[in-house]
Symmetry: C2
Subunit: 220 residues, 2 copies
Amino acid sequence: MEVKVMKNILGENDKFAEENRKIFAEKNILVMNLMGSPGSGKTSLLEKILQKISSEFKTAVIEGDLFTAKDAQRIENLSVEVVQINTSGGCHLDAQMIKRAAESLNLDELNFLIIENVGNLVCPAEFDLGENFKTAVLSITEGDDKPLKYPLIFKESEVVILNKIDLIPFTNFNLKNAREDLTTIHPNIKIFETSCTKGDGMESFCEFLRTRLISKEIAL
Amino acid sequence: MEVKVMKNILGENDKFAEENRKIFAEKNILVMNLMGSPGSGKTSLLEKILQKISSEFKTAVIEGDLFTAKDAQRIENLSVEVVQINTSGGCHLDAQMIKRAAESLNLDELNFLIIENVGNLVCPAEFDLGENFKTAVLSITEGDDKPLKYPLIFKESEVVILNKIDLIPFTNFNLKNAREDLTTIHPNIKIFETSCTKGDGMESFCEFLRTRLISKEIAL
């Protein structure tokens, strides 16, 4: 009974996701769905990405949070267009929310849209938003057992960012084990190691984004 | 429409939660529902608690995870009775799962039951399991903005544990702000500061648990 309800909700979601994907393709906009646990560093990564990318490619952000506009304010401080979605307690973004939020953006001018999902390593992975690819953020302070415990999000993501690598010396995180488990779950997953506070790995990840953006022939 | 479905599921859950609560009260078992993000340190806290408490009070653990029995194995290593629930991707434990898991425990001999919920700062807070009280774990590496962004879990919890305080020097976590926000959301919330790696704060939290256990007159 519960499963049936879930399928109906997902069926409805997939219809809106396909509509979004069609619109984004027509406008030649690359869309990344950024997911991860609360406090994994999604907004800090976003700030670093925008500092490097937004002068090269016209970029906008959709911020998903249960409550508050704290993250949207951080993005706005970088003079980047941002729309805040508050889910009022909801545990994930869905495609209909993205459709409404995108309507308030000037899509004709846009090259790159980043969607920061609600902080949650479980539910967001189940909902297609019409994005081109998903990126999962796992901070090393969460522990190297997380890929096997939460496999779906890593199966669904083209990219995983291992963030806060500057804190490895203060934890028992085993980078080799984490990489092996991620590759077992998703053989072709691209793994980046970053530190937002130290700046490590950001250029490498932004180079990956540039390649994706240029391959869509949407460079300014 | 979605809201209606949600209410039906919650109504069904509340029925099982009341049944659980009645059984636990009859058997004079104190039940704590331990919640928090992936990697906030729930299992590590549990290990420390069990080392201090399980020789004084007969304790058992129900472990909730999407997949794997990694956490249950850690608890079993401490010679504590443990039941693993795998939700197969489900984002929270519900009262019916607890009812089934509890049936495999010897409740007549038990004083204290700890339920470690699925790692998720959102969904578990919505589901009453029939526990006596909820404890939310927030690791300081998640950031001091989390109480206002995820208020429900802190509203529902009698206790919050600020874990990994040994990492404060390496982050921008503001303890004063976090405490103020938690108290705004839930004026009577009890706040403990802990470090599982250094042992800070564990005795203070265990003393709180002892008081709760003794006030139920279930000391051995």
